[in-house]
């Protein structure tokens, strides 16, 4: 069972999401609420394996480094995640470390170009590889995650590595999975001029950390929110995920100038990713249930069209196919073994 799940997790790790390049180069600090124009696509330097990371300031002391809104590929260097950092006045907090050792190293240099403050803490918001595969670059700094995430990184790190080396090629050279070293509990930190809340939610994975900067309103939502990109589901629990989206949505009105940063998808003033992710999960669970009840085989469900509202999203058809390959058999089995339905 374990080996089978590992193999599956490997395959599914490929599904982890991304976002289109969106920042303006060397943008001025954005006034909260200011529309944020998408930046032109970053051109990677494949010869030098340079991700061309460009921190974009989205609030006082807060920057994001946006990945491509795509699936993992050699063309995008497998840089499909939004990472970020907060210069608090009492040191820098880094959020997620990207898909490779190289990313972590380039992220570190990019941060140093923007702020002279030392990095005092690195946080991985969940167990997926693009959240922590850059940890090797941060060996001299506390690297933290929820305890459950750390256990998952330890259990699945090698499988992720196998998969990412296959998908991403040279970009991965020198990368070893290095799980976060310190478990962190949900809490609120007072660091410099920033009050940072670490909140534990769940459903995208068993432990989804959300970082809320109450001083600026920036919310690093991690894997709970996908924008304009099909959500990844290798560790999903849809019912819990939906509850967490409700909780996240309920939080936002209480946060002045709230600005949601999904791990995958554009960073925009409107938190539309919450509604998008919810709509996808509801459609997905209904479709799985209904297809199984009608007696469809997985091979047929794989060919079913996606509703128009989702068709422009990134990472299709691969992401949905991964989701179906993993989860539809559970629904099929239920339909085959369960009591006859009234319908």
């Amino acid at each position: 069972m374990t080996r089978r799940l590992c193999a599956l997790a490997l395959a599914l790790a490929a599904a982890i999401p991304c976002m289109p390049a969106m920042a303006q180069v060397a943008s001025a600090p954005a006034a909260p609420g200011t529309p944020i124009a998408p930046r032109p696509p970053v051109s990677l330097d494949k010869a030098r394996l340079d991700y061309a990371l460009q921190p974009r300031q989205i609030a006082p002391g807060v920057w994001v480094i946006e990945g491509a809104v795509e699936d993992f590929s050699r063309a995008n260097g497998c840089n499909i995640i939004n990472t970020g950092f907060i210069a608090t006045g009492a040191g820098v907090v880094v959020v997620n470390t990207g898909p490779s050792r190289r990313y972590g190293e380039q992220q570190r240099r990019a941060i140093a170009r923007v702020t002279a403050e030392p990095v005092v803490r690195v946080i991985n918001l969940n167990l997926h590889p693009d959240y922590f595969f850059g940890n090797q670059a941060w060996g001299d700094v506390p690297v933290q995650a929820l305890a459950g995430s750390i256990a998952g990184m330890q259990a699945e790190g090698q499988a992720y590595a196998t998969n990412l080396y296959r998908l991403c090629g040279d970009w991965m050279t020198g990368t070893e999975p290095e799980p976060a070293r310190e478990p962190v509990a949900p809490q609120t930190l007072a660091l410099g001029t920033h009050r940072l809340e670490l909140r534990r939610l769940e459903g995208h994975t068993a432990d989804d950390l959300v970082l809320i900067d109450h001083s600026t309103g920036v919310v690093f939502a991690g894997g709970l929110v996908f924008a304009e990109r099909v959500p990844t589901t290798p560790h999903a629990d849809i019912a819990r995920w939906l509850r967490s989206l409700d909780a996240l949505e309920a939080l936002l009105p209480g946060i002045p100038r709230a600005l949601l940063v999904p791990s995958h998808g554009p960073v925009t003033p409107e938190p539309s990713g919450i509604g998008q992710t919810r709509a996808w999960l509801l459609w997905l669970s209904n479709m799985l249930e209904d297809s199984a009840r009608r007696g469809l085989d997985l091979s047929e469900v794989l060919q079913a069209p996606v509703p128009a509202q989702f068709q422009a999203w990134a990472a299709q058809p691969a992401e949905l196919q991964r989701t179906l390959a993993q989860w539809y058999p559970v629904y099929e089995k239920r339909a085959l073994l369960g009591p006859l339905q009234a319908k």
């Binding site: 069972m1 374990t2 080996r3 089978r4 799940l5 193999a7 599956l8 490997l10 395959a11 599914l12 490929a14 998969n163 296959r166 009608r294 007696g295 469809l296 085989d297 997985l298 091979s299 047929e300 794989l302 060919q303 058809p317 691969a318 196919q321 991964r322 390959a325 993993q326 058999p329 099929e332 089995k333 339909a335 085959l336 073994l337």
Partner: protein, 271 residues
């Protein structure tokens, strides 16, 4: 109708040959690729044709639908759908459908005799690497009609133990059968989905000999078979098979079969 289908097949073949020629470097165009006209240009095809079809007449038949995933994320459970209904009026009807995968260490996946069922079958199988997957359809006039698709895969599915082998639970459920009918998935047809609990060991995992279901058939109260299936090692663990019957057989049905160790499968299938 038959002529129309043949003509359409011919046109499609000509079309794909043209596309192939355009894609080939000039030096290669002068000589035919040694793939025997295979639309997927697989160098294994000429040998496979000889092995499985001998000198019997064959053609590539795009109307034989072979549907696989865009990418086989789970190489231990690659979902395939075969639909040869378009051949119903051809050559006296379909005698059998052999499914083979060019680049699997065990190429033969299964052989299906539809008998009174429709020539439609869904199943899952293990892939060791990306490969063409083919349905070799034999009509009663002795001709073969070959449908193919390409399934990309990271692979490795044949050489790891299945989940019930890995955790040892297979022996508690061996050869148990679950089945259910579903109406009108295809209009006017009765769908039968059957699952047989079996580890389906390929024999390619060190220390685990081949152990697989090798024969299944659905028999009605009068002793008549509605379909017959020969399975080979690559069929996935706990095979989940989907059949289409033009009508629901009356009376008590039995699913009968055996595995290669001689264990019997015999279960009542109720509507």
């Amino acid at each position: 109708m038959t002529a129309l289908i043949h003509r359409r097949g011919l046109l499609l073949r000509l079309g794909s040959a043209g596309a192939l020629a355009a894609a080939l470097p000039l030096a290669l165009q002068a000589q035919e690729r040694p793939s025997g006209g295979d639309p997927l240009d697989s160098l294994q095809w000429p040998g496979m044709r000889k092995q499985y079809l001998g000198d019997a007449p064959m053609r590539f038949a795009p109307e034989v639908l072979v549907k696989g995933p865009a990418f086989a994320d789970d190489a231990m459970n690659v979902p395939m759908l075969i639909d040869a209904r378009a051949l119903a009026p051809v050559g006296g009807g379909i005698e059998r459908i052999d499914v083979v995968s060019d680049r699997n260490p065990i190429r033969e996946v299964l052989s299906f005799e539809p008998l009174r069922a429709l020539p439609v079958l869904a199943f899952r199988f293990r892939m060791e690497q990306a490969s063409p997957v083919r349905a070799l359809v034999k009509t009663r006039d002795g001709r073969w009609h070959v449908g193919s698709t390409w399934v990309p895969a990271a692979g490795g599915g044949c050489t790891v133990p299945g989940s019930t082998r890995a955790d040892g639970s297979w022996s508690r459920t061996l050869n148990q059968v679950n089945a259910r009918f579903f109406s009108n998935v295809l209009e006017g047809s009765q769908r039968l989905r059957v699952r047989v609990m079996h580890p389906m060991d390929t024999g390619l995992v060190a220390g685990i000999p081949a152990f697989y279901v090798e024969a299944l058939e659905l028999v009605d109260a009068a002793g008549q078979a509605w379909w017959r299936l020969a399975l080979h090692e690559p069929v996935s663990e706990n095979p989940l098979l989907t059949f289409e019957l033009p009508e629901q057989p009356r009376g008590v049905l039995r699913l009968r079969g055996r595995d290669n160790n001689g264990n019997a499968i015999d279960a009542q299938v109720s509507a």
